[in-house]
Each structure stands twice: as structure tokens, then as C-alpha cells.
Symmetry: C2
């Protein structure tokens, strides 16, 4: 039986979803192999990139130069599967529900445990994720159209270049959320407090100014409806580093599967800058 | 000889303009009777409203209900011309370059000293002014079109209602500054730190959504050019309380003359909320 055919409430019970240690144990045991959206309460979830040390050095420079799309929450020591600043108990080899394995820029497998692939030169990067700032926006009383419409957020390749580092380069990818102007202003205030999870928007208004021809044709995710009087608001997106990795074609790489994130011990509010 | 025919450098000397005590002394003596723009360095300047106690009670409630257009920096005790929280030496009867005197909603005089009009029931309100947040925007490296074009800022009556209190009511007046989206996002961050001087914008983008038909036809101030790719960004404006006072027609009222502000001992950075 695939865990992905279960519902979260079947596996965790209604009272168990907010207990991240319980959720992480069931993920570690392979019982839960699906997405983590809604499973972590107010805990920070992170994107995962694992690279051999040589490419990892380039990738860390790429993240340093592009902090809005690539906000680094933690980098492991080479060969060490622990990430103690994100959680005392985390083992990066087992604690995500599903991993994608890449060779030469091609996805070659989706597995729920990477222990057998582990090497002494692998470096793990955990990058901040929009779940954290969306949590803050919802807490602030704002509504998010893609959530209201039961869709994935709309994402677009832009003409905003990233700053290249070694192998890694490519355009910035952005996510878009339509809002009334007063809500957009509030959303800028709220997300500015969270620079480690993409921070303030990078653009708002006319999409053609950042190279987006048609908001109804996203490059990733789902188109959402835009109502009269709303403006599109664009945030730097964690798909940017994934796209850069695909273009860089490293010989070996492991990432999280989309939506199947690392659940950390940190609380979203701990990331607030003030 | 009218002081308004002098230049600031003639009166103060190039080195004297940043010394607010010197500037205030020359204003008190009646030597300088013109606008204070650029005369106060990084010191807070304020709008002035003086009302008899009965109307003052209504007006304070009006300000409390409309803090973005009417941010109160200080309210005097009835009959007291001092405002010690804004400056140990301030005498509100002499320390502005020019005052407007109003009776029944009509401006009946412009004078440089109101000592002869002083009464035991008069209450002074000093309201935050956009000079302070513009100082912060310029410090942040942003440019302001009306300054670059040597104009007054463009201001518009909107269809956003204020919350009435007693006699006082009317539409919110906003000032508009055109910016590229990335600068608008930065300007929201910068001005959010200054809630006592109008704070974050109240709107951006489509002016028709707040009842403005034509940006090139401002209700107050000067039209400015808007370049390709720029969006108009709208802040609540200190003209709002002035317009409410004109509509309320109090039997007696004194205000500053436009641009001829109270210079305080406070530094703009002291108003920053974080």
C-alpha cells in the first residue's frame, strides 16, 4: 500500500498533525511519503538540495549572491546527515517523505530514503520556503487566491537574471499572488519581516516589465483568477535554484520532491527579523 | 523689507541652516517669515492646528480615528503655548514663520506672530508631516520626482472617507509619488517605520479605484511627470485635517501657513518605530 493513497488524518489522527516529532517519525519510517503541506503547523518547512562538495561550494556562492530566491536556512558539514540548527533529531537521509535523485541534470528516481546513496562528500542545503511567509500572511488576516481556489501557486520565469556562480546561473523564477492594493501594501510589510523565506516582493503591477507575457500561462503551478481592482504581486521563488541546478547538470544531485519538504523544529515566528 | 524676499543663505549663512536653535530664534524675531523646507536638516517639522478647547476635543477624536492622515505628534495643555515634548524652548505663538488665522472657515489673515490673539482656551496640535518620511526615503537612496522637478508634491481628494468626529469630517486627501515597482516596495518598507508621519502608503496603482480621475489634475500642489513603467504610490496627507477644518467652519482657528512649519528638537530617526 502506498502511503500517498492515505489521507493525513488516517495516518496521523486529527490531534497528531501539529506534533512535528510524531510526523517526522512516521516520515522516517516510510509510513508517510506524500506532501507536507498543512502537516507542520507553525513549524518552518524547507526545500532540500544535496550536492557533492565541489558543486556545493559553487552552489553556496550562488545562494549568497541571490538571497531572495535562494535563502539558506542551513548548510551541513560534508558527509554529515545532521542539521542540528534546524532540529536535534534531524537525519536528512530519512526525514523527507520523498526525494528526487538527479544525474547529469536528469531526474532518474523518486525514493523515500537516500541512506543507500549517501556519500562522505555530500553537502545538504535547506532553503527557506514560501510556506513560511504564507503562514505569516494568513496569520495577518490576508487571503491567498491559490489556497482559496485549491491550486498550486502560479510561478513564472522572468527576465530578471540571477548572479551566476560557477556552474549555476539562470533567470529568477517568481511566484504570483493577486491582491487589492491595500492588501499588497500589508503583504509587503508582513513578508519584509521574513528575509530568510524570500522576504519582500521583487515586483508588483505590470508583468511585462519582468518578462511575463501572460499571467494565465504560468511556467510552473496553476493559473489563478485575478479579480477587478487587484494587482499581481511577485515574490522570488524557490524554484529558481532548482531551475539553476537543472541547467548546471551536476553529475549527481538529490532534492526534495515538490511539496515533500523537510519539517524543522523552528517556528515560523522565529524567522521574523523584528 | 519682507523676509520672504531674502534667500535662506542670506539670512542664516550656509553654516547656520542645520542649527535649529539659530533658525528658530530668527523665526521668533520675525526675521524669517517664509517656508521652512530645507531649513531643519534632519529635524522633525510639524503641521500646526490651534483650536478653542470645545472644538479641540472633537478634533483630537478626529485625529485618533484617522491616524494615517492626522498623526498627532503633540497636543498642548489648554492655554499653554509650550510643547515641551517637541522642544524645551518652543513657544507656539512665535516659533512658526507664518500663521493663517481662520474665522468661521474663512482665512482672514496671515501673520508672523499670534501673541496678540492668544487665549486661555486655545489648544495646539502638532501633526506629523511628509517632510519626515521624504527625508527617510531620500536617505534610503530613493528619488522623489517632485523634488527633482522643483515642484510641490501632487495631492488629490479621494473617495476614501475619514471617520467623522463631532464637527470634523470629509474625504481623505493623499499625496502621490510615482516610482518603479521595486522602489515602491522599498518605499513601503521605509515609510512603514514612520507611523507618526503618515506611515505606509494607503494605495498604489490604479488611481480610479480611490476616486482620482486624472493624475495630471491634482486638487492641491503640482502635477509631476510619470515615466514608463512607473506606478503612482499614494500616502495619506496632512491636507486632510486642513480640509476637514475648512468644512467644519469652527468660529476661530489658527494653522501654519502652507510650508511654514514648526521646527522641533526631535530628529526624524527618533520617530522610527524599529
Amino acid at each position: 500500500m502506498l502511503a500517498t493513497s492515505m489521507t493525513a488524518s488516517t495516518v496521523f489522527g486529527a490531534q497528531g498533525i501539529a506534533d512535528v516529532n510524531h510526523v517526522r517519525q512516521l516520515i522516517r519510517q516510510g509510513v508517510w511519503q506524500s506532501h507536507t503541506s498543512g502537516l507542520a503547523g507553525d513549524h518552518v518547512q524547507g526545500n532540500l538540495v544535496i550536492l557533492p562538495e565541489a558543486e556545493a561550494n559553487d552552489f553556496l556562492r550562488f545562494c549568497q549572491r541571490n538571497p531572495k530566491p535562494c535563502p539558506v536556512l542551513a548548510v551541513s558539514e560534508p558527509g554529515q546527515p545532521q542539521l542540528p540548527t534546524l532540529g536535534q533529531d534531524i537525519d536528512i537521509r530519512t526525514d523527507l517523505p520523498k526525494y528526487h535523485v538527479w544525474r547529469n541534470g536528469e531526474m532518474v528516481g523518486a525514493i523515500s530514503d537516500i541512506t543507500d546513496l549517501w556519500r562522505d562528500d555530500l553537502v545538504s542545503f535547506v532553503l527557506g520556503c514560501s510556506f513560511s511567509f504564507e503562514f505569516a500572511l494568513l496569520e495577518a488576516g490576508l487571503r491567498l487566491r491559490h489556497i482559496d481556489e485549491g491550486k498550486n501557486v502560479a510561478m513564472y520565469r522572468t527576465n530578471i537574471p540571477t548572479q551566476a556562480a560557477g556552474l549555476f546561473h539562470g533567470p529568477m523564477v517568481v511566484s504570483m499572488r493577486p491582491m487589492l492594493a491595500k492588501d499588497a501594501i500589508r503583504a509587503i510589510q508582513v513578508t519584509s519581516r521574513f528575509p530568510n523565506v524570500h522576504g519582500a516582493p521583487v515586483h508588483l503591477g505590470d508583468p511585462s516589465l519582468i518578462g511575463i507575457a501572460d499571467l494565465q500561462q504560468p511556467d510552473y503551478g496553476d493559473a489563478v483568477s485575478i479579480k477587478a481592482g487587484e494587482i499581481p504581486v511577485f515574490w522570488a521563488c524557490g524554484v529558481t535554484p532548482q531551475a539553476a541546478i537543472v541547467q548546471a547538470r551536476p553529475a549527481f544531485c538529490i532534492t526534495h520532491a515538490p511539496g515533500a519538504m523537510l519539517i524543522t523544529d523552528l517556528l515560523n515566528q522565529q524567522l521574523a527579523s523584528f
